[in-house]
């Protein structure tokens, strides 16, 4: 599991995850992801490179979203695979973390004033 971050302008950061977001993957990115959500307020998490996610991966995403929300910021998810999307939907995660399939829409969603 790897995470790459990129400042894509307008105060928005894109974090691209790559690999399996299972218990080991969650462990691998927990620290860098926690640093990211501690520093940034507008984050697009690109899931297109994630081929597997389980509840420990959801835990990482939900904790990060809570941290950002507590600062008045926002996280959205970008382009999960069909299987990963099903996990996000079936777990109820999409009630609190929105999915976008278009980067421009995702950026607009996190950059929008609350």
């Amino acid at each position: 599991m790897r995470m790459q971050t990129e400042d894509i302008g307008g105060g928005v950061t894109k974090a691209s995850l790559d690999g399996r977001l299972d218990i080991a993957g969650a462990q691998a990115i927990d620290l860098p992801f926690n640093v990211l959500v501690g520093q940034k307020r507008a984050i697009v998490v690109d899931l297109s490179g994630v081929d597997f996610i389980a509840s420990m991966g959801l835990r990482t995403l939900i904790m990060g979203a809570k941290t950002v929300a507590s600062k008045g910021g926002r996280i959205v998810l970008l382009s999960p695979s069909a299987d990963v999307r099903k996990v996000l939907e079936d777990s109820g995660t999409t009630a609190i973390l929105k999915i976008h399939s278009d980067l421009a829409e995702a950026v607009a969603a996190v950059a929008a004033p609350r």
């Binding site: 080991a24 389980a54 099903k86 079936d90 009630a95």
Partner: protein, 147 residues
């Protein structure tokens, strides 16, 4: 004469993260060799990850304890059984976590058992001889080439 079951695979794993890694890699190879549909392979991997990580984290197993996982393909289904000597735990009887409604009140964790039910229509639990047996059956789509 008892024939060896070519479509069965048994994993005898250490009850730790390395064991879980060995399991997911082994199941991935099995899925490729058997040509499981990718969504079925994903469901098997998800249920195994949730169930075995529960055993590792909450089973109270002493160091060096093993977890056994049987994976077999029969009668149009993939059947997976996990056996462990951890504390008696029936995930089918566990109450669901509160639904996620807003980020401020969102509870962390506890989503694994609900996901098992969403990804597997047929789950059974029994406690026998000091062991937990958790069994999942994943139906394979009919009329697959080579099925």
């Amino acid at each position: 004469m008892q024939m060896a079951d070519a479509d069965a695979r048994e994993f005898d794993l250490p009850a730790d993260l390395a064991g879980l890694q060995t399991l997911s890699e082994g199941v991935e190879r099995l899925a490729e060799a058997r040509g499981w549909p990718s969504s079925t392979a994903f469901a098997v991997q998800l249920c195994l990850e949730e169930a075995v990580s529960n055993v590792i984290r909450h089973g109270g197993l002493p160091a060096g304890e093993r977890v056994r996982v049987d994976v077999r393909q029969a009668d149009g289904a993939i059947v997976v059984e996990i056996a462990d000597r951890g504390v008696a735990f029936d995930p089918l009887a566990a109450p669901p976590p509160p639904p996620l409604t807003d980020l401020e009140s969102a509870t962390i964790g506890g989503r694994g058992i609900g996901l098992m039910h969403k990804f597997c229509p047929d789950i059974g639990y029994r406690r026998s001889d000091g062991r937990n047996f958790l069994r999942f059956a994943f139906p394979l789509p009919p009329d697959r080439p080579g099925a």
